[in-house]
C-alpha cells in the first residue's frame, strides 16, 4: 500500500527559526538530522524531491465571483500548516504509523498526517 506522510512541524524547533533551534542542545540537533537520514534511507520510503519554504512564506489563493483573492500565509493556522512530506510503500497502516512516529516533528510539538494514496 502506498501512503503519503504529511509533516506538520507545529511547535517543533527547526533551523527555519534560528532562535528556537539554538534552544536545542547539539546532541538534540544531531538527533534530528540523524532521524531524518534514517527515515529517508528506510526501504519503501521515497523522500520528497523538493523542500518547501516554511509556512510564513506561503500565499493563499481563492477565487470568488470571478475575483482572485490572495492572502498572506497558509490556508490553515501557521502552527497547523504543512512543512514537508514523503511517500512510503508499506504493508499496512500500522507500518506507516510506525514510520510516522519516528519523524522528529511527531515528538517535538508537531504531527504527521498519514494519508493512503488512491490505487491506480
Amino acid at each position: 500500500m502506498k501512503f503519503m506522510l504529511l509533516i506538520h512541524q507545529g511547535a517543533t524547533p527547526t533551523p527555519n527559526d534560528p532562535a528556537a533551534w539554538a534552544q536545542l542542545s547539539p546532541e538534540e540537533q544531531n538527533a534530528v538530522y540523524a532521524d531524518y537520514k534514517a527515515i529517508n534511507e528506510t526501504p519503501g520510503v521515497t523522500p520528497a524531491d523538493v523542500q518547501m519554504q516554511p509556512p510564513e512564506m506561503a500565499s493563499t489563493v481563492r477565487v470568488q465571483d470571478g475575483r482572485t483573492l490572495t492572502t498572506d500565509g497558509p490556508f490553515v493556522e501557521m502552527k497547523e500548516a504543512l512543512g514537508g512530506y514523503l511517500f512510503y510503500e508499506a504493508d499496512d497502516l500500522d507500518a506507516a504509523i510506525e514510520l510516522a512516529s519516528r519523524i522528529p516533528a511527531a515528538r517535538m510539538g508537531g504531527a504527521i498526517e498519514v494519508r493512503p494514496l488512491v490505487e491506480r
Binding site: 508499506a90 499496512d92 497502516l93 500500522d94
Partner: protein, 407 residues
C-alpha cells in the same frame, strides 16, 4: 428457531464472522457469506439436527458461499484469471476446528485510526452480531446515522490499510487498553440505561469473557471482566420502586452472590497475573468493587487503591471517590479537605458529595447550598429525585438537629 439453536447462533456468530474476514479480507463480503451460512443452517439443522461441530460447519458453509460468489463475479466481469480454488460444493468435508480469529477482529475494530464511536459500533455489530437498529437505539442515534457510521468505518479500514491482526508485542499493551476501554464503554452504556440496557451489558460480559479466555496472560483483561461482574451483581439492588439506592443503603440480599463469587475468582487470577508489575486501572477498580462487597468495607484499603488509581489516571473523579473513602475512614472533615482541592465545579456529583459531608458535620446551610448546586447540574431524572429527597431530609434535620450526626 428454538432456544438452543438461537443460543448456538449467538455464540458462534462472532467467531464465524472473524474467520470469514480473515479469509476474505473484506468485512462486507464476510458478513454476507456468514449471514447466508446461518440462514442455511436454520433450515438444515432444523431438518437434520445440529452438527457435531456447529462452528466448523458454519465456517465451511460460509467459505463455500463466498468462493462461489467470487467465481460467479469473476466470470461475469470476464477477468483474465479464474480463481484458483477448487470448486466448492455444498457437501462439505467437516473439520472440527478452525482458528479463532476473534482477537484479530476486535483489535481491528478498535484500531486507533477509527473514531471511538465507530470502534464501539463495529465491535457490537461484528463480534456481538447486534442489528444496526439495536445498536442505534442503545446509543440514542437514528438507524441511518448508525448505519452510516458502520459503512464509513469499514470503508476506512479498507482504504487506510488497517491490518487484520493482533498487534505486535511492543504495541499490545496500548492497543489492548483501547479494546478494554471499548468493552467497558459498552458495559457502562448498558448499565446506565438500566432495564433497556440489559442486552448491552450481556454483550459486554460476553466480550469480556472472550478476551479473558483468548488473552489469559493479560491481567487487565481479567481485571475488566471481574469489574463488570462485580458491578453487575448489584443490578437488582440499585433501584427500589423506581428510585435510586446508593451502595451503602442497598439491600444486600438482592445482590447476585453467585456472580460476586465468580467476579472474585476472576479478580484473584488478575491479581496473581499482575504480581511483580503494578496493577492496572481495571484490576484496581475491580479490587475496589470487591472491597465494597463487605458489610463493613475496609475504607483504608479502598482509599489506598483509589490513590493508586488516581496516580495512574490523573483523574479528579477518582480523587473524588477517594475523598468519600477517606471520609468514611477518617471523618467528613478529612474528605472535605480533598474535595475542596478538586477542579470539578460543573460536576453534580462533587456538590452532592460535599453536601453529604457537610450534612454529617451539621453544617446544614452549606449542605443545602451544595445540594442546590448539584440539582442545578444533574441530568438524570432518577438522580435528580435522589438529590431532592436528600435536600428534603435536610429540612427535617434543620428542625431536628439531634438527627444530624451519623451517616
Amino acid at each position: 428457531m428454538n432456544g438452543s439453536l438461537e443460543r448456538t447462533f449467538r455464540e458462534e456468530w462472532g467467531r464465524v464472522l472473524a474467520a470469514l474476514i480473515g479469509f476474505l479480507g473484506d468485512f462486507d463480503r464476510a458478513e454476507e457469506a456468514t449471514q447466508e451460512a446461518f440462514a442455511i443452517a436454520a433450515q438444515r439443522w432444523a431438518r437434520d439436527g445440529t452438527p457435531t461441530h456447529p462452528g466448523a460447519w458454519l465456517v465451511t458453509t460460509a467459505r463455500n458461499r463466498a468462493i462461489n460468489r467470487l467465481r460467479r463475479e469473476r466470470t461475469l466481469a470476464a477477468k483474465t484469471r479464474l480463481l484458483e480454488v477448487p470448486h466448492a460444493s455444498e457437501d462439505q468435508i467437516e473439520t472440527s476446528t478452525f482458528p479463532d480469529e476473534r482477537l484479530e477482529l476486535i483489535f481491528t475494530c478498535c484500531h486507533p485510526a477509527l473514531a471511538t464511536e465507530a470502534q464501539v459500533a463495529l465491535t457490537l455489530r461484528t463480534l456481538g452480531g447486534l442489528d444496526t437498529d439495536a445498536i442505534a437505539q442503545a446509543f440514542l442515534v437514528s438507524e441511518p446515522t448508525m448505519s452510516q457510521r458502520l459503512v464509513r468505518a469499514k470503508r476506512k479500514i479498507k482504504a487506510a490499510g488497517i491490518p487484520f491482526r493482533v498487534p505486535a508485542e511492543h504495541l499490545l499493551a496500548e492497543r489492548l487498553a483501547a479494546v478494554l476501554a471499548v468493552v467497558y464503554l459498552i458495559f457502562n452504556q448498558g448499565y446506565s440505561t438500566r432495564s433497556s440496557g440489559r442486552a448491552l451489558v450481556a454483550e459486554a460480559l460476553l466480550l469480556g469473557r472472550a478476551l479473558a479466555e483468548l488473552m489469559p496472560e493479560q491481567a487487565e483483561a481479567h481485571g475488566l471482566l471481574a469489574l463488570m461482574l462485580l458491578h453487575d451483581s448489584r443490578r437488582d439492588a440499585r433501584e427500589h420502586e423506581g428510585e435510586l439506592v446508593l451502595l451503602l443503603d442497598q439491600d444486600r440480599t438482592r445482590w447476585d452472590w453467585t456472580q460476586i463469587a465468580e467476579g472474585r475468582i476472576v479478580l484473584d487470577r488478575a491479581v496473581t497475573l499482575a504480581k511483580g508489575g503494578a496493577a492496572g486501572i481495571y484490576v484496581l477498580q475491580a479490587a475496589i468493587s470487591s472491597l465494597h462487597v463487605e458489610q463493613t468495607p475496609d475504607w483504608h484499603e479502598i482509599a489506598a487503591l483509589y490513590g493508586e488509581l488516581a496516580r495512574l489516571t490523573g483523574s479528579p473523579v477518582v480523587e473524588l471517590n477517594r475523598a468519600i473513602a477517606v471520609a468514611e475512614e477518617l471523618g467528613a472533615e478529612a474528605g472535605l479537605t480533598i474535595l475542596d482541592r478538586l477542579a470539578l465545579e460543573d460536576f453534580h456529583y462533587l456538590h452532592a458529595t460535599r453536601a453529604e459531608l457537610l450534612r454529617r458535620l451539621g453544617r446544614t446551610a452549606e449542605a443545602r447550598a451544595a445540594y442546590e448546586r448539584a440539582l442545578a447540574l444533574v441530568h438524570d431524572e432518577a438522580e435528580r429525585r435522589l438529590l431532592q429527597r436528600r435536600l428534603g431530609e435536610l429540612a427535617v434535620l434543620a428542625r431536628n438537629p439531634a438527627a444530624a450526626h451519623g451517616g
